[in-house]
Symmetry: D2
Subunit: 357 residues, 4 copies
């Protein structure tokens, strides 16, 4: 990280950037109110910090030890004296702002009729964003992989429904990008690109999706520590895309015996990440629990822990869903959850300010 002097000229800044590029790295220039900070993106071993430190206009050149400097709160504070959380804005929806945001929809888009009915009902229940899986990541090659996997035509058709449903019911739409080859196609149709838990480590996919210029909802892998999660989200931001929404969706359970939930929801990750990074954090209680009778409790807990929103799977008739039927809730249940969570959010935010730690 190169911290420029207050009075560094545009020419001096340009010069430092050129020097960085000469060594095969990229430069992330942040012009703050007080000073300009240049982040290095790429293999830092290829460049001499001692050399950078003596270039004209440079105040300090230092290595940032944490592997996620571009998304870190500490780094963002540095250059303009502000410690601001990022708000990802899509139309009227603000993720990371004062109010919690609710993403809802079917696990998998199965038909136009199914999607539109669910879209209408989740909107009525208070949802802000519509989600629906078209390319589904599955453990078994012998399971339904989503309409998108049936062919290009089917993918376009399903993506078209999603866009149409979003417009009709006034919600931005989100779907998962599972492979690099589908990224461009999907970006034509949706407002938020989701990277699923299983693809968290797929740095080529991350880079590709980042470049599409749309907000990215990035899910934590169930085997990833928080440091790894943040390090891989850095791959997205390193492409210049800071509209990243981090999503906790459960980690591997510990211990022997019967598994009562699919994954273990790590809610402490919410305040921990908020202290480390300025990016907003949401929670997906559906995949973590894997059973509908826990969604109410875990949604309330996630918001109480400070999450900026929830992503919940909803179906008007859970029993007939083709994927993850056992974890779907109904629109009525969603409404109750949204109402409760809004109240909890208010209570928690009011009191949280009084506690100084």
């Amino acid at each position: 990280m190169i911290i420029m002097k207050k009075d560094a000229t545009a020419e001096e800044i340009k010069n430092v950037v050129a020097e960085i590029k000469k060594h095969g790295l990229r430069a992330d220039v942040s012009r703050g109110e007080f000073r300009t900070v240049i982040g290095l993106v790429g293999d830092e071993s290829k460049i001499s910090f001692a050399h950078l430190a003596v270039l004209p206009g440079v105040k300090e050149a230092r290595t940032v030890e944490i592997p996620y400097k571009l998304i870190s709160r500490e780094y963002s504070e540095l250059f303009d004296g502000k410690d601001e959380s990022r708000i990802v804005q899509i139309g009227d929806v603000r993720i990371g702002g004062e109010k919690p945001v609710f993403v809802a929809g079917p696990c998998a888009v199965e038909s136009k009729q199914q999607l539109f009915r669910i879209a209408e009902e989740v909107k009525a229940a208070g949802a802000d964003i519509l989600r629906g899986g078209i390319f589904k990541p599955r453990s078994s090659v012998h399971s339904f992989q989503g309409l998108g996997s049936l062919g290009n035509e089917e993918a376009r058709e399903a993506l078209g429904w999603l866009r149409e449903a979003g417009r009709k019911f006034g919600m931005p739409v989100m779907t998962e990008v599972r492979g690099e080859m589908q990224a461009d196609l999907i970006a034509e149709y949706v407002d938020i690109l989701q990277i699923g838990a299983r693809n968290m480590y797929d740095q080529d996919l991350l880079g590709r999706v980042a470049k599409l210029g749309k907000p990215v909802l990035f899910k934590r892998h169930f085997g990833a520590g928080i440091e790894e999660f943040l390090s891989f989200s850095e791959y997205i931001v390193a492409e210049g895309n800071k509209d990243v929404i981090l999503c906790e969706r459960g980690i591997l359970p510990v211990g022997k015996g019967k598994g009562y939930t699919r994954y273990t929801l790590d809610l402490a990750a919410v305040p921990v990440i908020q202290k480390e990074s300025y990016l907003p954090v949401v929670v997906d209680p559906s995949h973590a629990a894997g059973r509908r009778d826990l969604i109410f409790n875990m949604s309330c807990a996630a918001i109480a822990a400070g999450a900026s929103g929830l992503a919940i799977e909803v179906h008007y008739n859970p029993a007939e869903a083709k994927v993850d039927a056992q974890q779907m809730i109904t629109p009525d249940e969603l409404k109750e959850i949204i109402d409760t969570c809004k109240k909890i959010s208010n209570t928690v935010k009011t009191h949280r300010k009084k506690v100084k730690i």
Copy 2:
């Protein structure tokens, strides 16, 4: 499990019990409104269910597959048609009732002055029960093991302070029993006996503590699945002591890299256990987080998840605590947490009833 006929006589019941004892097992007789159910405690392979089934007055003899039948909600429903959660009552304090209960105090009792000052301040902040460690389980033999470990006299003195502080400030008191040899001594002085996470698997200690006839706060081991946790709590109830408070305090973290918390708080365990067992569940956010700046958020989350109470470590000056200084909060912070949690609890309970799953 032996389900007696509705009109089974006292003689017939006695006869079945005798038959069970003859094979070296114990019998847990539950006389319900509708019928009497006799639970078998011990090695069931030593007795023939077919033989029991034909004894006079027996309606049905069946094996219960789950390893925690004595504490299971299903089993308790069976005999009197009621599905009731157990309320553990100590004086005026009701754990498992409508209102959340707050246990607070220092990690380790260090002096009379320290304990009394903390007791006074946590009471003022709204705490219901006073906790304080006298025999401390520690990873290293080279660390402070609590005043109790210094000798019998010191143990008695510290236990005496605890009892006195509880009486003076009107709170029942709780401390941990770490080894079988200390159990009788401790039971003389305190109202609730705690079994720590590290001793969860110590079935001899469990049996011994259970027999002392006092409520037991039983902590989940950080490597234990929920089924194991419930199976070992069965060791306490098998001694006839149903005043067991289960406590979630964090499980082993998953993933590589920096650990931001000591353990991973598994809040889904709260509603899961509530569905499996009639015993109340509380949460200890202090040991799970291991850092004070997460206690507010995780306390709110625990109550939102449905916990019947919290156990929090408090010190008027965290920096000077001998053990776990980094996770102590101040009495002021405790007050804010208690106030917020009470509001959350009200909101959640009101809405939860409307959701039928």
Copy 3:
């Protein structure tokens, strides 16, 4: 799975295949000595087994519950009465045969000189296959990502060196395919395509690499259970590519405190997988241990557990390696390991046959 009658005609088989395709699934036809078995690949919920069962020539139509039927030993036994392990053959090298196979080379290819010197020395030490990373998966975007990541030209140049070194020293060569976009390019140059642990769940990459018609070395993700590992290897075999070498390389460590190894090598996975699947299993002790002083012991242990080979990172001067320097061993150490492992393999194979379980 459709089991045809012994005397089923080619016409009848064709007919069943057509019926399967009509429903959007693929058919994996295995003509055995005794009978023909047709495996279904794809979403089985879309087809009626009852309907298939009554087609002419069909003896039985049954669902296979395990999610990895195409690679399962049980399934392969079924159709020709043989229980044979698959031998993946590349030139003279036979993976899965009587003798253990040794893959060795640098973690990352850094220069032609470096690669050629290592190739020469590992060959002299007894290595069978040359490995070298050109596209490196890294936790941090700020670390060296391999020569391949510098651009297309650099990638081609490094891949060319690898091919040339392999030819010069008489070893097939292997490198990792990290993203879908690089798959075709890499397949032009190397003999074995590696899919790294972090990409294990990337089903689109798996499908793409499978289709390139070359043997695939498939590494287990550090958060994956064995069932998941096998289920995802099914994605490769489902494309008709049965030349899959499974590789155990360590799973997430358990427990608190200092990490003495990077991952926990799960050596029981070797015999477990050998009982479940006919595919060969090799072990990578380098990434599991993350430190060179354990490689000898863990290599011996892996071969003693029954592994068909080892993949080991080697450098003539470990200290100067750009990636994973601390886990490289020297060619001299490799030679000692290979010599010892060959003896252990002989001893174990001779005695193993006498034990009937």
Copy 4:
């Protein structure tokens, strides 16, 4: 740790010890060839190192950061310039010496006939030590807890058989001590006291068993990291008992889906612990695997990894064992394992010396 000057007098040493005791700690005095080193046992925060450093005869007073200094190889090297592994000797059996040692016997002692027949057959197969469970730790209170749990008389009788079988067939005997109350009784009868995995954290039990003056086989908890395992073994050595045999028996498995083994055998723990501590390490493949068809492979792997011995459960008719029937092997299989392991041990030891890391 206090390092005395070479020419420190007995008086000076005595004086330092007295000073340590005055602060409530114990002193572990090691008189080496070159100098005397005094280890502190207990809460080090209670004593001033600066003060100790200026006592007559003291060369240096330093804090040892690792939590297991008394068992560490580094510490033992310090005082006499020797880096020696400890050999635990019981009669003719030397654990930690050149030859691997084999502990075998039934999981649970069920009758005199059963024990004697197994003792005879494991001896013939080559076993060195006889094991047999009398107090069994069990997950469910409703399972068979061992003959010892039936009462004092039964315990004495079963312990008597064990002693008698050991004498008759010429093997030292070992059984598990599960609770503090049984420790004295058991020590009357057996040669090696086992502390089971579930009791690893039970520091009061550890201290009590340590004091009985017999060798202790100490098993790693399935949720414990290596550092924790070593830290708790320090509780035994802190009582002056250095005859501790460490035992790896599997840790919690990672990942979703079917469990193919009960635990994950962490064989890298063997060389890791050997580098950290001078205590011998053995492996229990039976409990780790939980299935008999893996015992051969994992036994070979453990010895190849460098283990000083194995503890294996054996029954002449596994199907009739009351506990853990599925993991028992027959005496014939044991013989094959012992023969193979001895050969592997020879091969590995010969070659290992040539590798300098």
